[in-house]
């Protein structure tokens, strides 16, 4: 039986996308632990099945902990992944530009706001800081554009995935300031 190829997207403390044969190596003889030197003890690897994060059939979400490093791995057959991506690219082409909603990746308190509504920001520019677990996390602009909506104020408590602000089209691409303001 020839092994099918899988596409594995690994997210976590290090991120990688690789294609590997299903069943572990050409012979499919490898155990769950990763290949290591023959005298090395196998790393402590634990697989935890995750609930499906999307409805796409054939995509498996697995939490894997290797030597204490925790990853979320999305696995699917490589040919299906290629098909899906082609479709996604086609769809994205229709939505180029538009608005980017910046959401809280971590719950916490907004400690600083560096931008205000109507301000133009460059990609990667600091937008605001969220303090969580005594640490300040800077949120940066995912793309260049104008801050269309600011949904939080300094001191606000935000939950995971809360909308923080929306970065719209760059100023040159929209109507003159004020023209379409409600």
């Amino acid at each position: 039986v020839s092994a099918e190829r899988l596409r594995l997207e690994v997210r976590g403390p290090a991120e990688v996308i690789v294609e590997l044969p299903a069943g572990g190596g050409p012979g499919g003889e490898q155990p769950l632990s990763a290949a290591g030197g023959t005298n090395d003890p196998p790393p402590a690897t634990h697989l935890l099945r995750q609930p499906p994060a999307d409805s796409a059939a054939g995509r498996l979400h697995v939490e894997v902990v290797v030597d204490g490093w925790r990853f979320e791995v999305v696995a699917e057959e490589a040919h299906r992944a290629a098909l899906r991506e082609r479709a996604a690219r086609a769809a994205a082409a229709h939505h180029a530009g538009g608005h980017a909603t910046v959401r809280a990746q971590i719950p916490g308190r907004v400690t600083r706001l560096w931008v205000s509504e109507g301000e133009h920001v460059e990609q990667g520019q600091r937008l605001l800081a969220i303090e969580a677990m005594k640490m300040e996390n800077e949120i940066r602009a995912p793309r260049a554009g104008v801050v269309e909506r600011l949904a939080v104020a300094e001191g606000a408590l935000v939950e995971l995935n809360d909308e923080l602000l929306i970065v719209g089209e760059p100023a040159a691409a929209v109507a003159p300031p004020g023209a379409e303001r409600p």
Partner: protein, 538 residues
């Protein structure tokens, strides 16, 4: 059940013949330390009251206490830092003592004073001791006065001349620069009211001095309501050592040995061990003596820890006193055989130091065991130990003789960002350091945690470092110098991909078999948590 076991254990204690130290103790904390305190209270036959914020309604410490009182919403300022709410909870339940644990209100004179006013015993030092030690400059001055060497630096606050006329600001800047030149570079600017690395700045270049001083002062003013700062010399390759102290109402103060806490990042401890490696009995006696001197100077009652720098040339320089139970007290317990929380409760009840404590203090300079602790926190060690909140999907701590796990969570616990990310303290003990380290390494390999990234991989790496294993490269900058997580995480990421590929036939067949079921949701997850995770993290 635990009550019956507790009373049996109590009957073995000589000093418990006339009942527990307190009828009922309120534990004003959360997480692993609240559980550890509640356990200790039950062992002595004290009833317990837990307090909790809305974020902790389902927390383990709440379930394990005899009674529980909600004290407010999740932000600490509205709950665990609310003196009024905690005093009300104690009054309402008839608790006769409050144990503050560490952090939160443990070193705030306000809680200790409010306890005194309400006729409740505060398990800790006297309010004026807390007030004096809370100001690090005052603590430095107190130490210097009794001849304990402090880290070279200013003994008073330095001014940065903000908000004054330009002439005054200019002369203040000149004075600051002169003081800094006197201390020498590199130096540290510290907040007098500081803690946990806040309001602290390292300055290598005189040109950065004024900017750093202003920034540190502003940060301190924002965090502590006090912008006073001072300057200390930054000691390269120094170790952090600290002395465990106990004091009774008669004024007897003893040292129960020292700990080495040099493995830190950003002034937060990651690993602690007792005793400090490489010291001889003479050095230990000297260090313990310095700790006792400082404690005596501030009239210490109950438990505290005096922190020192150990310089490469072998000098002990006093840093500060933490007037409370330390996070890392467990390693001292494993080495000394003394239960520090039991002793805290007896001391708070007015008992003198017990013969067992005095004997342990006698032996403290020549320890016959070694213990080491790894702090297991919900942090990503590959990304500067940033917070890694989430829902714990698997929690399987190792269990073995010579191991101790003080944990505050279980599978299903939500790690929120409101509080400290410490999940557990994993401790190992042995007749010598090598044995303790080997046991800790085994325990780390056996510890299974799912759902959140933790500091486990850092600890596994640390124990493999020859410089650490041989205790020849211990210093507070070790982690910053040597921890290179990217290659380790990258190798692990590939291993994770390989593991899933290897398991694909089984996983895929399983998922195909499960897919048609109507009640799919919870069947997906081995521990039956899928629905909850989706709901809470989505």
């Amino acid at each position: 059940v635990s009550r019956r076991q507790a009373s049996r254990q109590v009957s073995l204690r000589k000093d418990s013949t006339d009942g527990p130290p307190f009828a009922k103790v309120l534990v004003a904390n959360r997480g692993e330390i609240a559980r550890r305190l509640i356990r200790a209270c039950h062992e002595l036959g004290c009833a317990t009251v837990a307090v909790y914020s809305d974020a902790d309604a389902d927390a383990l410490h709440v379930a394990e206490a005899g009674e529980r009182v909600r004290i407010g919403p999740p932000p600490p300022s509205a709950s665990y830092l609310s003196v009024a709410a905690i005093i009300d909870a104690a009054r309402g339940t008839g608790a006769t003592a409050i144990h503050p644990g560490y952090g939160f209100l443990s070193e705030q004179p306000a809680l200790a004073e409010a306890c005194a006013a309400a006729g409740i015993v505060f398990v800790g030092p006297r309010p004026r001791t807390l007030a004096e030690l809370g100001n690090k400059l005052a603590a430095r001055a107190a130490a210097a006065k009794v001849g304990v060497p402090t880290v070279p630096g200013t003994l008073g606050a330095v001014t940065v001349g903000m908000g004054e006329g330009s002439a005054a600001r200019g002369s203040a800047t000149d004075a600051l620069q002169r003081q800094a030149d006197g201390v020498g570079y590199p130096l540290l600017i510290k907040a007098a009211a500081g803690g946990g690395g806040r309001g602290m700045r390292r300055v290598d270049d005189p040109a950065e001095l004024v900017g750093a001083a202003v920034a540190a002062s502003n940060e301190a003013a924002a965090a502590f309501g006090d912008g006073a700062i001072y300057i200390e010399r930054y000691v390269e390759r120094a170790r952090h050592v600290e002395v465990q102290l106990l004091g009774d109402e008669l004024g007897t103060i003893v040292a129960l040995g020292e700990r080495d806490c040099s493995i830190q990042r950003r002034h937060q401890k990651l690993v602690e061990e007792a005793p400090a490696p490489g010291l001889d009995a003479g050095q230990r006696r000297r260090l313990h003596g310095l700790g006792v001197e400082v404690a005596r100077a501030v009239g210490l009652l109950n438990a505290a820890t005096a922190e020192f720098l150990l310089t490469p040339s072998g000098e002990f320089w006093f840093l500060e006193v933490n007037a409370r139970l330390q996070v890392e007290h467990g390693v001292t317990e494993l080495v000394s055989g003394v239960d520090l929380v039991h002793e805290q409760l007896w001391l708070a009840a007015g008992r003198p130091l017990s013969p067992a404590v005095m004997a342990a203090a006698e032996r403290a300079a020549e320890p016959v065991r070694h213990a080491i602790e790894a702090r297991i926190s919900a942090e990503d060690p590959a990304h500067d130990f940033g917070p890694a909140p989430g829902l714990i999907s698997r929690w399987r701590p190792p269990a073995a003789e010579n191991l101790r796990v003080d944990d505050g969570v279980a599978a299903g616990s939500l790690v929120s960002t409101h509080y400290d990310p410490l999940l557990a303290k994993l401790m190992a003990v042995g007749p010598d350091r090598a044995t303790a380290l080997a046991r800790l390494a085994g325990a780390l390999a056996d510890f299974e945690i799912g759902g959140v990234q933790t500091t486990l991989p850092f600890h596994r790496w640390l124990l493999e470092q020859p410089g650490f294993a041989a205790a020849i490269d211990l210093s507070t900058d070790f982690v910053a110098r040597a921890w290179q997580p990217a290659p380790l995480a990258a190798v692990a990421a590939l291993s994770a991909a390989e593991a899933v590929a290897a398991a694909w036939p089984v996983l895929h067949a399983q998922s195909e078999a499960e897919r048609p079921t109507a009640d799919g949701g919870s069947a997906w997850w081995r521990d039956g948590l899928a629905a909850e995770i989706e709901e809470r993290l989505r």
